[in-house]
C-alpha cells in the first residue's frame, strides 16, 4: 500500500481517542446503546407470514382476488374423535355442534364446514328438501342413522366431513378477511381445547401450520441461541483463558445487538414502514450480527494478547494491535455493509429492512470493537504473568503446524482446495427448493404427526384452489370444469375436489326423482338456472358463496390432497396448467391455479433470484472495495476467493445432502458473506504487512500464525450455533449444520485456498510497498 492508511491522521486520532480518553469513549458507547435500546420497545414481531409476500407477484394477485371473492383460501382442519370408536354417536355430534357455535362467536371465523353446518338435499315424499345435515344438537339414533346413510350415498361430501374409518369428525375453519393467520390459529386452538378435552384432537391445514411456525421457530431458535452462546463462550474461554477478555467480546456483541434491534424499533416507530417489522426471515439477524461482532472482538482481543506477550505494556500493546487491525476491521465492516445493502433491491419487503438494520448493526459492531473495546482494554488491569498472556492457547499451537503445511506443501493444499470446490460445483446442480411449511417439521413432532394422521385417515390438509372466470351457468363450461375435477382427482395425492359442480349435480339428481343417472350437469342453461333459483328459494344462497360469486362469473374449485413437496406442487400445477391450456384453449374462460403454497413457491423463487443477484453484486462490490483500499485489482480478486469457495461449497453440500432451499435456508449466503469476507481481508491485510518485514520463505507461515489464530478462534466459537441442529424444525437444523460448515468453509477457504494461492502466486504479485 502506498501511504498506509494505518498511519493516516484519522487512524492515529481514533486510536488516541480510544486509548487516551477511554472513559469518554465508554460513556459515549453506553449512552448510545441505551438510546438505541429504547427503540426495542417499538419493535413489532410480525408473525403473519403473508405480509412478507411481495404484492406485485402474479400468483399473489390471483390469490388476493380469490380471497376477496371467496374469503381466505387458507384454512385450519380439526379432526377429533377416539381411534377405533365410531364418531356417529350423540356425544361426538353434540360436541361438534357446541364447537361450531363457539367458533362462530370467536370473531375470527368466516366460515365453518363440518357435519353440523353442512346441508343435505333430499327428495322426501315429493318434497325437495334442503335441510341441515345435523338437524338438532342432540340427535336421536334414527337421526344419526339417517345422516350416516346420506353421507354413505354422497362419498365426496363424506370425505370432507369424517375420517375414512368414521372415528374422527372433521371441521374446516376459514378465517375472516384481514385476520392474520397466527392470531387465527391461536384463537382457534384456545377455543377448541376445552371443548374437545375428552378426545384425541389433530390440527392441520396451511393456516394452522403457517400460523404456528413463526412463534415456534422463534422460541426454538431463542433457546438454541442461548445454548450456542454458552458453547461460544466456552470455546473462547478455553482458548483465551481470561474472563475479562471473554467478557469484553461479549460486551461488544451485546451492545451491537441491542443497538441493531433498537434501530429496527426506532425505524418502525419513526417511519411506520412494514419492512422494519420483525418477521420470520429476520430471525437469523441476531445470529449473523453475533458472528460478525464476535469476529471483530476476537481479532482485537487475540491480537492484543499476542502483542502483550511481546511488548508487555497494555497501552503500547493495544496501540500496536489497533495499528494493525483498525483498517482491516473497518474494511471488513464496510464490505459487509455494502453486501447487506444490496438487499435494498430485493422485491421482498422484509429483506429491505433486513439489509438496512444489519448494516446499522455491523457499523455499531465496528464502533464497539474498534473504539470501545480498546478503551475497555486500556482501563482494565492485565496481569502480565497470567497464563492467558504468557502461554499459547490450544488453537495457537494447532496453527503453528498448519502454517508449516501451507509453506511446505502449497501445491497439494491448493489442489485439495480445488477438489473441494469441484465437489461443491457438482452439488449445486442438485439443490432443490421446498417451501412447503409442513415439511419444516420432523416426523415425531406433534404438528407433523397430526398432518400425517390427517393424510392417512382423512382427505389430507393441503388445499390447492383453481379460480374459474366465465359464465358459470353455461353447461359447456360447467361440463369442462366437471372433467377438470375428474382430472384433478386422478392425481394420487388428491383425495377430493369440490366446486359448484357437485351442488348442481346433486340438485339435478334430486329434482329428477333422485335418479342417479341425473347426477350430471344438465345440458340446458335454463335448467341450470332453475336449479340455482330453486336453491335460493329452499336453501341459503350464502351456502354457495364459498364456491361461486354473486354474479355467477367466478367460481372456485378446491382440491384437498395429502402433503405434497414443492417439487410435486410444481409438477401438479404444471400438469393442471397444461390440461387447462389444451381443454380450454378456444374459450374465453380463464382458469388459474392458486393457494398459499403456490404463492410461497413463487416467493421463494423470487427470494432465490434476489439472493443470487445480491451475492453476485456483493461479491463484486467486496472485490472492488478491497481493490480500492489495497490499491491493486489483484487483491480484490484474492479477497473474494474464500467467499466464492465457501458459497459454492455450502450450496454444493446442500445439493449433495438433499438439504432443500426455502425462505429460511436461503439466508445462509448472508452469513457466509458476512463472516467470509472478514477472514479474507484480515489475511490479505496481514499478508501485505508481513511481506514488508518477513523473509519471503516464512511469509505465509507468519501470516497464518498471526491471523490464522483469530480466524480459527472466531470460526470455532461461532460453530457454537451448530446447536441449532437440535431444533425441532428441519430448516433450522439445516441452518445449524450449515453454520458449522460455513465456518469451516470460510476459515479453510482463507487458510487453505487463499493462503496457498498467495503462496503459489507470491512471485507474480505486485511488489509491496
Amino acid at each position: 500500500m502506498s501511504s498506509s492508511p494505518n498511519d493516516s491522521k484519522m487512524t492515529k486520532w481514533l486510536i488516541n481517542q480510544s486509548i487516551n480518553h477511554p472513559k469518554k469513549i465508554i460513556t459515549i458507547s453506553i449512552v448510545f446503546t441505551i438510546l438505541m435500546g429504547f427503540g426495542i420497545q417499538f419493535l413489532i414481531v410480525e408473525d403473519d407470514m403473508t405480509k412478507m409476500l411481495p404484492s406485485e407477484m402474479d400468483s399473489k394477485k390471483t390469490w388476493e382476488a380469490v380471497q376477496n371473492e371467496f374469503g381466505s383460501t387458507e384454512v385450519i382442519f380439526i379432526a377429533f374423535g377416539n381411534a377405533g370408536e365410531s364418531s356417529f354417536n350423540t356425544k361426538n355430534l353434540h360436541d361438534l355442534s357446541i364447537l361450531t357455535d363457539t367458533l362462530k362467536t370467536s370473531g375470527v371465523v368466516h366460515n365453518i364446514t363440518n357435519i353440523s353446518t353442512a346441508t343435505r338435499i333430499d327428495q322426501v315424499d315429493g318434497f325437495l328438501e334442503i335441510s341441515d345435515l345435523q338437524p338438532h344438537r342432540i340427535l336421536e339414533d334414527h337421526d344419526i342413522i339417517n345422516m350416516k346413510s346420506y353421507l354413505d350415498e354422497n362419498i365426496d361430501l363424506k370425505k370432507q366431513l369424517i375420517s375414512k374409518k368414521e372415528d374422527y369428525l372433521v371441521t374446516v375453519i376459514q378465517p375472516r378477511k384481514n385476520v392474520s393467520l397466527d392470531v387465527f390459529r391461536n384463537v382457534i386452538v384456545d377455543l377448541t381445547r376445552p371443548i374437545l378435552n375428552d378426545y384425541d384432537v389433530h390440527y392441520g391445514g396451511t393456516a394452522f401450520v403457517t400460523g404456528s411456525i413463526p412463534k415456534l421457530i422463534r422460541y426454538d431458535v431463542k433457546f438454541l441461541i442461548m445454548i450456542g452462546l454458552v458453547i461460544m463462550v466456552g470455546i473462547l474461554f478455553i482458548n483465551l483463558r481470561n474472563l475479562k477478555a471473554v467478557s469484553m467480546i461479549l460486551l461488544v456483541i451485546a451492545f451491537s445487538l441491542i443497538s441493531m434491534m433498537g434501530f429496527m424499533g426506532w425505524a418502525y416507530y419513526l417511519t411506520g414502514f412494514d419492512c422494519f417489522l420483525f418477521a420470520l426471515l429476520n430471525t437469523s439477524m441476531p445470529i449473523i450480527l453475533l458472528t460478525i461482532a464476535n469476529s471483530d472482538g476476537v481479532h482485537v482481543i487475540s491480537k492484543f494478547i499476542r502483542e502483550m506477550r511481546k511488548i508487555q505494556n497494555v497501552k503500547d500493546s493495544i496501540r500496536s494491535s489497533m495499528d494493525v487491525l483498525l483498517l482491516p476491521i473497518f474494511l471488513t465492516s464496510i464490505t459487509t455493509i455494502a453486501a447487506f445493502l444490496t438487499l435494498l433491491s430485493s422485491p421482498l419487503e422484509p429483506l429491505v429492512g433486513y439489509g438496512l438494520c444489519m448494516s446499522f448493526g455491523i457499523g455499531c459492531a465496528w464502533f464497539f470493537s474498534s473504539l470501545m473495546l480498546p478503551s475497555l482494554i486500556s482501563i482494565v488491569h492485565w496481569d502480565i504473568n497470567d497464563k492467558s498472556i504468557n502461554m499459547e492457547g490450544p488453537f495457537e499451537k494447532i496453527l503453528k503446524h498448519m502454517s508449516k503445511l501451507v509453506t511446505n506443501y502449497p501445491r497439494h493444499i491448493f489442489i485439495s482446495g480445488i477438489f473441494l470446490l469441484s465437489l461443491g460445483v457438482s452439488g449445486i446442480l442438485n439443490v432443490n427448493v421446498d417451501v412447503n411449511v409442513a415439511s419444516f417439521f420432523k416426523r415425531g413432532t406433534e404438528i407433523r404427526d397430526s398432518m400425517d394422521f390427517m393424510d392417512e385417515q382423512m382427505s389430507g390438509t393441503m388445499d390447492l384452489r383453481l379460480r374459474v372466470m366465465g359464465d358459470l351457468k353455461d353447461p359447456i363450461l360447467l361440463k369442462k370444469i366437471d372433467s377438470l375435477q375428474t382430472y384433478l382427482n386422478e392425481n394420487k395425492k388428491v383425495n377430493v375436489s369440490y366446486s359448484i359442480i357437485n351442488v348442481i349435480k346433486q340438485m339435478h339428481k334430486t329434482v329428477m326423482d333422485n335418479s342417479s343417472k341425473y347426477k350430471i350437469i344438465p345440458n340446458e342453461r335454463e335448467k341450470i338456472n332453475n336449479l340455482f333459483t330453486m336453491y335460493s328459494m329452499s336453501g341459503n344462497p350464502e351456502d354457495l358463496s364459498s364456491m361461486i360469486d354473486y354474479d355467477f362469473n367466478t367460481g372456485l374449485i378446491t382440491s384437498i390432497s395429502s402433503l405434497m413437496s414443492t417439487e410435486e406442487v410444481y409438477l401438479f400445477v404444471e400438469a393442471v396448467n397444461k390440461y387447462i391450456d389444451f381443454n380450454f384453449k378456444n374459450s374465453a374462460d380463464k382458469l388459474s391455479v392458486t393457494g398459499m403454497i403456490v404463492v410461497i413457491r413463487d416467493m421463494v423463487e423470487l427470494l432465490l433470484k434476489s439472493s443470487l443477484f445480491s451475492i453476485f453484486i456483493s461479491v463484486i462490490i467486496i472485490g472492488l472495495i478491497t481493490a480500492l483500499f489495497f490499491k491493486r485489482f489483484i487483491w480484490g480478486v484474492f479477497s473474494i476467493v474464500p467467499l466464492l469457495f465457501a458459497i459454492i461449497l455450502n450450496f454444493g453440500l446442500m445439493g449433495h445432502f438433499n438439504i432443500t432451499l426455502n425462505h429460511v435456508t436461503a439466508i445462509l449466503s448472508s452469513i457466509i458473506i458476512g463472516v467470509g469476507v472478514d477472514f479474507a481481508i484480515h489475511y490479505i491485510s496481514q499478508f501485505q504487512r508481513c511481506s514488508n518485514i518477513t523473509k519471503n520463505n516464512h511469509l505465509s507461515s507468519e501470516v497464518i500464525k498471526d491471523v490464522g489464530y483469530p480466524i480459527i478462534l472466531d470460526a470455532s466459537s461461532n460453530m457454537g450455533f451448530g446447536a441449532l441442529v437440535f431444533s425441532a424444525f428441519i430448516p433450522v437444523q439445516y441452518i445449524g449444520g450449515l453454520m458449522i460448515f460455513a465456518m469451516l468453509s470460510t476459515s479453510l477457504g482463507t487458510l487453505i485456498l487463499l493462503s496457498s494461492s498467495l503462496e503459489l502466486f507470491r512471485k507474480h504479485l505486485p511488489a509491496q510497498e
Binding site: I130, T533, Y550
Partner: protein
Amino acid sequence: MKYIIKIILLTSVLFGQSGYEIAEMVFNRPAPSDMINKIKMTLTNSKGKTRESIMQSKSMDNNKKQIIWFLEPKDDRGVSFLKIERDGLNDDMRMWLPAFKRTRRISAKRKGDAFMGSDLSFEDLSNRELSDYQYRRLDDEEWKNIDCYVLEIFPKKETRSNYEKHFSWISKSDFIILKEHSFNKKGELAKQKEFFYHRIGTFNILNQVNIKNLINKHGTKVVFSDIEINSGLDKNLFHERNLKRIPNH
C-alpha cells in the same frame, strides 16, 4: 267487582297499553282480503354489486296464501312459487321449474334461510303469531316526527325462531310497524328494517321495505307497485296448476 274494573280501566288510561295490547292492536289491524301487486326486489351485496328481480304477486288472507311469478331477470322468467301457511304446521311451498316442466315442493324447515338470496328470511315473510311471542313495552320514542310505541318482542321458548328478540317502533296513530331491529341468537343486531306505507282506502298498505343485514353487510330493498286490493281473488287460484302460466297482470 265494578270497583276493581274501574281501577284497571283507570290504570290503563293513566299508564297506557301494555306491550301485549299494543301488539294485539297491530295484529288485529284491518287488512284487505286480497292483494295483487308487482314486487321489485333489489339486492346489494357487501361489495356494492346489485341484483334485481321483478315478480308478480297475488295473495289473500293477509299473505297467508301467496303465489308469485318471476318476470325478471330473463333467466328466472317463468319460475313461480306458491306458499300456503298452515296454522301449527309447516308451510306448504311449491315451485314450478319451467325448464324441467316440473313442480317441486320445497321445504321450509330452515326458516332462517333467505328468501331468494335476500335479507328477508321465510320467518320474516311469515306472519308472526301473536301468542308465539312475549312483549315488553319500552319508553315511547319519536321516529321521523311520528310518535311511536317501542316494543321489545321475544319468541317464547317453544317458538321456533332464528332471532333472540326484536325491537319494533309502532306508530301510535296507525298501529303500523315503522322500524324494526332484529337480534340473532348470539345477541348481535343482525337486521335493521324500515317499512313505508301508503294509504289505499282505509288501509295502510306496505309499499316499500328496506333491510340492512349488519352481519353480512348485505342490503335488500323491496318495492311494491301496481297495488290492487280487495279485487275478489278466487281461493282456487292458490293451486299448483296455476303456477305454470304467468297471468296478464
